[in-house]
């Protein structure tokens, strides 16, 4: 029982990352009609926003300390972050400690800018090209983006820890009256889950309650009609691309403490997030979120020893297996609309 509870927790957490990425993908697909294979790269760039901010905050003044030696036996160079110089050691250390949450704010303008450049510079030339071309050019873009990041940051993962306040894990066992240690869950992962819930709700609220959102939703349903009303839907769609990029970016920033970012994490998530979108139904926002959580939970359950001993290797393939079954049983995914992407 407690195991099941634990794996549901895990699944929700995995699912939140999938859902956030899939949400952005679906926004782009629903509004612009573009299949964006570079979306995983946006997630990766988001994570590297956290890395970059951390690097900026730890930019250091170098002083020579003759009393110590470095690995070559030369006098040691001591690095003191400028931040510590400006705000005092304690305050400075705290600022550095909180670099990941701060990077969320930092990432929003960066990601919106990246999104605009991508849309205006590349994607807009592909609105009227076949989906295959869109897939291919964004796939090329994904390769380029990850290689560029690799040139700057190397191939190794870069640790970007969460603030010390979120260290350790919460013991649900104690709370629920089960034995201690039976059901523990890291604080930061709970933060991640809550964060994604907030972002998902914000996106839905934005689309539901603002005029802008209503126009966009109308545009998603029927682009031509909205165009006939004299509303410049293209401009709004460009902004939507920026928002989708920001959602992916924030998902990446907050994910950085969970797994140290590396340049190919985008590709790792790309296939998964596409499977999520397709399972949810191309173009359906609730479908993307639902499928994200569903696949996250299924993935967690399949990694349980009990399940693995029944079907060896099931955790290797569960996501794909589920995707195949769902696509065969429900051709348009869980909540997909008819006629989308069937050309």
């Amino acid at each position: 029982m407690d195991q099941i509870f634990l794996q549901v927790l895990n699944g929700l957490d995995k699912g939140s990352a999938y859902a956030l990425i899939a949400l952005g993908l679906t926004l782009i697909f629903g509004t612009l009609g573009v299949v964006n294979f570079a979306h995983g790269a946006l997630f990766m760039i988001g994570a590297f926003c956290a890395v970059t901010l951390q690097k900026i905050l730890t930019l250091s003044k170098i002083t020579i300390d003759p009393t110590k030696t470095d690995f070559l036996g030369n006098p040691a160079k001591i690095k003191t972050p400028y931040v510590e110089g400006w705000f005092g050691p304690d305050m400075g250390a705290m600022i550095i400690d909180w670099s990941v949450p701060m990077a969320v704010l930092f990432s929003i303008p960066v990601m919106i800018l990246v999104g605009f450049i991508m849309e205006r510079g590349l994607i807009k030339h592909f609105y009227h090209r076949p989906h295959a071309d869109q897939i291919l050019v964004t796939f090329g873009l994904a390769i380029v983006l990850q290689e560029v990041v690799k040139q700057f940051y190397g191939a190794n993962p870069i640790p970007t820890p969460a603030p010390a306040a979120f260290k350790g894990s919460f013991d649900f066992g104690v709370m629920l009256g089960i034995d201690a240690n039976k059901v523990i869950y890291p604080y930061w992962r709970m933060v991640y889950f809550l964060f994604s819930a907030v972002v998902i709700s914000a996106v839905f609220a934005f689309l539901r309650f603002t005029t802008f959102g209503m126009v966009v939703r109308a545009g998603m349903a029927d682009r031509e009609t909205v165009g006939l009303l004299g509303i410049n839907i293209d401009k709004r769609f460009t902004i939507m691309f920026g928002i989708a990029a920001a959602v992916a970016g924030m998902a990446g920033v907050m994910y950085a403490p969970i797994n140290s970012p590396n340049y190919h994490m985008g590709m790792d998530f790309l296939v998964l997030s596409f499977v999520v979108v397709v399972v949810g139904g191309m173009g359906s926002l609730p479908g993307a979120v639902l499928a994200g959580f569903l696949l996250g939970i299924l993935e967690s359950f399949s990694s349980m020893n009990e399940v693995k001993s029944l079907i060896p290797g099931i955790d290797q393939i569960i996501i794909y297996l589920v995707a195949i079954i769902i696509l065969l049983a429900r051709p348009r995914g869980l909540m997909g609309k008819r006629g989308v992407m069937e050309d």
């Binding site: 407690d2 195991q3 634990l6 794996q7 927790l9 895990n10 699944g11 957490d13 995995k14 990352a17 110590k68 470095d70 690995f71 070559l72 036996g73 040691a76 690799k150 190397g154 191939a155 190794n156 993962p157 870069i158 640790p159 820890p161 260290k167 350790g168 894990s169 240690n181 039976k182 523990i184 869950y185 890291p186 930061w188 992962r189 403490p257 969970i258 797994n259 140290s260 590396n262 190919h264 994490m265 790792d268 993935e299 967690s300 990694s303 349980m304 020893n305 693995k308 290797g313 955790d315 290797q316």
Partner: protein
């Protein structure tokens, strides 16, 4: 020459006809390049000898590959008499003089393994077939090492393995043309076990998380055997898919299992992520069975430790070599590497530097690059001064036997490279095994292949 003539027979004919006026025709069969003259493949010509450095330049191990490449360039510099000579000065064999190998200037070509066995073989082939490399070295994973080793055996060149830790490289997949300086999973286990016993006692229950491919399995097998031999129990052995990035669902059940030690048989990105996740779950702050919960990472690498950041603090593992060693060889190597590049070398850099020197030395002593003679010179070769203390290339399986370092993540690093501290140097005798040990059985060296 007409197109219709382009059959095999036609080629021989036209080749012969054309040669009369133009150049000496060379007819080769059976894998041979310059063999017609020298009796082995890719014999040095024009006073230069070409070595092939086959390292991952793209993919997750690209940084280790880059570090290996730095060490190779340094080794080539030293072999050609440049720089400060590095470990050539401390090496117990004095055959090398800084005048290249056998008087031939050392050149090198590089290739990208992409950490895929296919790509690695292709790039090794290209170095052998196109660039005339007489020796191939490098790699940062066992799958690649075994694949390339097999290819070098077929092609008839020497393979000096880089970072490869699987028992199989010198076990069931060993080859006469292949040599490994790096240690292996069995040695890790044998070195770690006594330390773990001393630290954590004999009444422990281990939970294994293992990368689901052959290297992971051999390490899991080795560690489980070694720890069980000293009284530990094994609660569970769980295989994790290679592509896993989030290990939470594998780590969450650990505390429930009654285990009080978590063994992470992961390497590279897997290790960084699984360790980070395990620490996030706060496992190390927990008490199980009245004992502190512990995590062990049998194979450590400083570059990976860097990726895991502060999470490595206080966690035990083993490593082939570490820059903080204070013997003369290590110091010389760190000095020349650090001076050239500005940071200390990794264990991957160290092992490939040693391999290059060892190869050059063997050629020098054998008086030829012929793989069979070189192999003979390496087999049973005892040496010292390369940073690991007295070392021997065992003739039976081409595995180096030397002391193994047990390290732990340093609690208070003094600088960004100071991530691991050496806890114990386990002497060679403790990690040695018989060539026909069951974990290594099933393979044969076969005969050396000079490619002729």
């Amino acid at each position: 020459m007409t197109k219709s003539n382009l059959t095999r027979r036609g080629l021989i004919k036209t080749g012969a006809a054309a040669s009369a006026g133009l150049a000496m025709p060379t007819l080769f069969t059976g894998n041979v390049w310059a063999a017609a003259h020298s009796g082995y493949r890719n014999a040095p010509t024009n006073g230069t000898v070409t070595l092939g450095f086959n390292v991952p330049q793209s993919g997750p191990y690209a940084d280790e590959g880059a570090d290996e490449l730095r060490a190779y360039e340094l080794a080539v510099e030293h072999l050609n008499g440049g720089g400060d000579g590095g470990m050539m000065n401390t090496f117990s064999s004095s055959a090398l003089t800084g005048a290249g190998i056998l008087g031939n200037k050392v050149q090198f070509v590089t290739g990208d393994t992409q950490t895929k066995s296919d790509a690695a073989r292709a790039s090794a082939k290209s170095m052998i077939e196109k660039d005339g490399a007489v020796m191939i070295t490098g790699g940062s994973s066992s799958g690649v090492a075994i694949a390339v080793q097999g290819m070098c055996q077929e092609a008839g060149v020497i393979f000096m393995a880089g970072l490869t830790h699987s028992n199989d490289t010198t076990g069931k997949d060993k080859k006469a043309n292949g040599f490994r300086h790096f240690f292996n999973a069995y040695m890790s286990a044998a070195a770690l076990a006594p330390v773990l016993k001393k630290l954590y006692g004999t009444d422990r229950t281990a939970y294994h998380l293992t990368a689901d491919y052959s290297w992971g399995w051999t390490q899991e097998e080795s560690i489980a055997a070694a720890t069980e031999a000293m009284g530990w129990k094994t609660a569970e052995k769980v295989r994790t898919p290679l592509a896993t990035t989030d290990f939470s669902s594998y780590i969450a059940p650990v505390l429930n299992s009654g285990a009080d030690v978590l063994v992470l048989n992961h390497y590279g990105g897997n290790m960084v992520n699984s360790l980070t996740n395990a620490v996030q779950f706060g496992l190390r702050d927990k008490q199980v069975n009245g004992k502190n919960f512990e995590i062990v990472v049998p194979l450590y690498s400083r570059l990976m430790a860097k990726g895991a950041g502060a999470n490595v603090k206080g966690i035990f593992g083993s490593t082939n070599w570490h820059w903080s060693l204070t013997d003369a060889g290590s110091k010389a190597f760190v000095k020349s590497f650090g001076t050239k590049y500005g940071f200390p070398p990794s264990q991957a850099a160290h092992t490939v530097y040693c391999q290059t020197l060892l190869y050059a030395d063997a050629c020098q002593r054998a008086g030829t690059h012929n793989p069979c003679a070189v192999a003979e010179a390496l087999e049973g070769f005892k040496f010292d001064g390369l940073g690991n203390g007295p070392t021997e290339y065992r003739a039976e399986d081409h595995q180096c036997f030397k002391d193994v370092l047990v390290v732990k993540g340093k609690e208070n690093p003094e600088n960004e490279f100071d991530l691991l501290e050496i806890v114990e140097v386990t002497p060679r005798a403790q990690v040695e095994y018989a060539p026909d040990h069951p974990m290594f059985a099933g393979g044969e060296l076969g005969k050396c292949n000079p490619g002729a």
